[in-house]
């Protein structure tokens, strides 16, 4: 029985085109337009969770709950509005979808959730809503002010108000630490998107076995905490052994090559979006001259198998080590080699490479501004040199004024700048 499920798939803002392309090929799917402030796509599909989980350009997938514009932002009416949200949602299909995903995750139901059918038959929750079984939940609120000064409530207030409404309606106990169900409320100014997590659960016993290669020797400066730096694994903090971090429970966390990370690791979903832009062809050599832990070439071979060859290179020994661990991890679907080099002096033959795809160092995480502004244009020169003329394509993601200038100079002679657009890498939530 293929019921229609209603999803929200998140992705880096600007890369929705890749998600839309994938959804075109997902059977029984229709896109629901209308939500543009958030990175992602709303859709309905009859495809099974296993198929939805194969979406490469999605950061994560959620059960869609509701979306509202022009919500009250002052304290009193705001909190009242948020408290009323639970009553406007049809929880039955949502919880069915949630159960379907939990079963897909853990068919042996080791997560400790009782079978809702048994519960219903056993008349255990006769006083509560007749379709939803007992489960613990939490609401996670995120709030951004873009064009307005301030909300009358904090994200925690908002989460509490929504949670109160849910508890009143459904009777589930709230538990911030150990929960079966998580509702996420994302507020941007007076717009609200409400979704339910399908993968992440505070109860999950499975943890991803990720080792962080020490970043002590990296020239890239401080290890930043929290804001947008999902991949930072602080060696000081100790997380409760059973519960995986949110970063480990994204859809992209499941990539088999994602064993060792560096602290500026690119999300595989973003890497996939960049690869889509590059129009990779069979027989291509896909190069990332500043590969970090190798995400881009490894995503290429994970996606395209033996149709391409991956070439990953980096300057820093910890990055090269991480990339090598990832490239040689288990049964690789394709071929990827790792080299240690200086990207501003690539030891590669002229006109030998088909595709260069690179997430160039930028922002405060990677060295200092001066170093970058000297490095980036030099790397561009090398990229121009090693690309095969006529057919070579480079997709470079960066934030560098001098690099932009270098590209402009080269455009007159060598390069055809096809597209220049923005990808939102991180969104800071309060």
């Amino acid at each position: 029985m293929a019921a229609v499920a209603h999803y929200w798939a998140s992705c880096a803002g600007g890369l929705e085109f890749a998600l839309l392309k994938e959804l075109e090929n997902l059977e029984g799917t229709s896109i629901i337009p209308g939500i543009d402030s958030y990175g992602g796509v709303q859709f309905r599909t009859t495809s099974a969770p296993q198929k939805v989980a194969e979406l490469r350009s999605a950061d994560n997938v959620y059960a869609f709950l509701s979306h509202h514009k022009k919500i009250p932002v002052d304290k009193e009416s705001g909190m009242a509005f948020l408290g009323s949200l639970a009553g406007k949602i049809d929880w039955e299909p949502v919880m069915q979808l949630h159960r379907l995903w939990q079963e897909t995750e853990e068919p042996d139901s080791s997560s400790g959730i009782s079978d809702p059918l048994l519960t219903i038959n056993g008349m255990a929750n006769v006083e509560q809503t007749h379709v939803t079984p007992q489960r613990s939940f939490r609401v996670t609120g995120n709030r951004i002010c873009k064009d307005m000064k301030k909300h009358g409530y904090t994200s925690m207030d908002a989460a509490a108000a929504i949670g109160d409404g849910m508890h009143e309606l459904l009777g589930w106990p709230a538990d911030m630490r150990s929960f079966n169900v998580e509702v996420l409320a994302w507020i941007i100014d007076d717009e609200l998107l409400l979704v339910l997590a399908l993968i992440y659960s505070g109860n999950k016993k499975k943890t991803k076995n990720l080792q962080n290669v020490s970043n002590i020797n990296e020239p890239c400066a401080e290890v930043e905490d929290v804001e947008g730096s999902e991949q930072v694994k602080s060696t000081k903090k100790k997380r409760p052994a059973e519960r995986p971090s949110r970063a480990d429970a994204q859809l992209y966390s499941r990539r088999p090559y994602r064993k060792a990370l560096v602290h500026t690791s690119l999300k595989p979903s973003t890497a996939y979006g960049l690869l889509q832009l590059a129009d990779v062809q069979p027989g291509d050599i896909v190069l990332d001259p500043m590969c970090g832990c190798g995400t881009i070439p490894l995503e290429a071979i994970n996606w395209l198998g033996t149709r391409v060859m991956g070439l990953a290179g980096d300057f820093v020994d910890t990055a090269v080590e991480a990339a090598n661990i990832n490239a040689t991890a288990g049964e690789s679907p394709g071929h990827c080699d790792v080299v240690r080099w200086d990207a501003s002096m690539l030891p590669l033959r002229t006109a030998s490479i088909d595709r260069v795809i690179c997430d160039m160092p930028f922002g405060n995480r990677c060295g200092n501004h001066k170093v970058r502004e000297v490095l980036c244009p030099r790397v561009v020169k090398q990229v121009v040199r090693v690309l095969r003329p006529g057919s070579g394509i480079a997709v470079l993601m960066a934030q560098s004024k001098t690099m932009k200038e270098e590209i402009e100079v080269n455009q007159k002679a060598y390069l055809n700048l096809q597209k220049h657009f923005y990808v939102y890498m991180e969104v800071k939530f309060h």
């Binding site: 069979p282 027989g283 149709r307 071929h335 080299v339 200086d342």
Partner: protein, 122 residues
Amino acid sequence: MRLLTHNMLACNIKGVTKGFPLAIEVTKLETKESEMNPDFLRHIYPKLDWKALHDAAHTLGLNDIPEQVEPAMLEDEDFLQKFHHALLEVHLEEGALICPETNRRFPVTKGVPNMLLNEDEV
């Protein structure tokens, strides 16, 4: 390091004009089997410096790579298997790559060549 990668690598020390192909010093080889993709091989063939591949394969002890390739051979399963094996299945795990012009040694450890230059070579 696979021979496909070797076919792209060149010494870039300042002033060097003949930095390709790098000579190979073998300390440890490893064979990792993988599925042959004829389509990939046909696409990659024109991009290779065949002589460099032939000579490199010879250094690695693989003597069934012909010096010349006729187009018909790219349809021959037997040839493709040997081509695939030399290009992608044999890994140089430990050893070095040597610049033909300067004799500079680039060490290869755990399958990763270190092509970093010293300050005076830049």
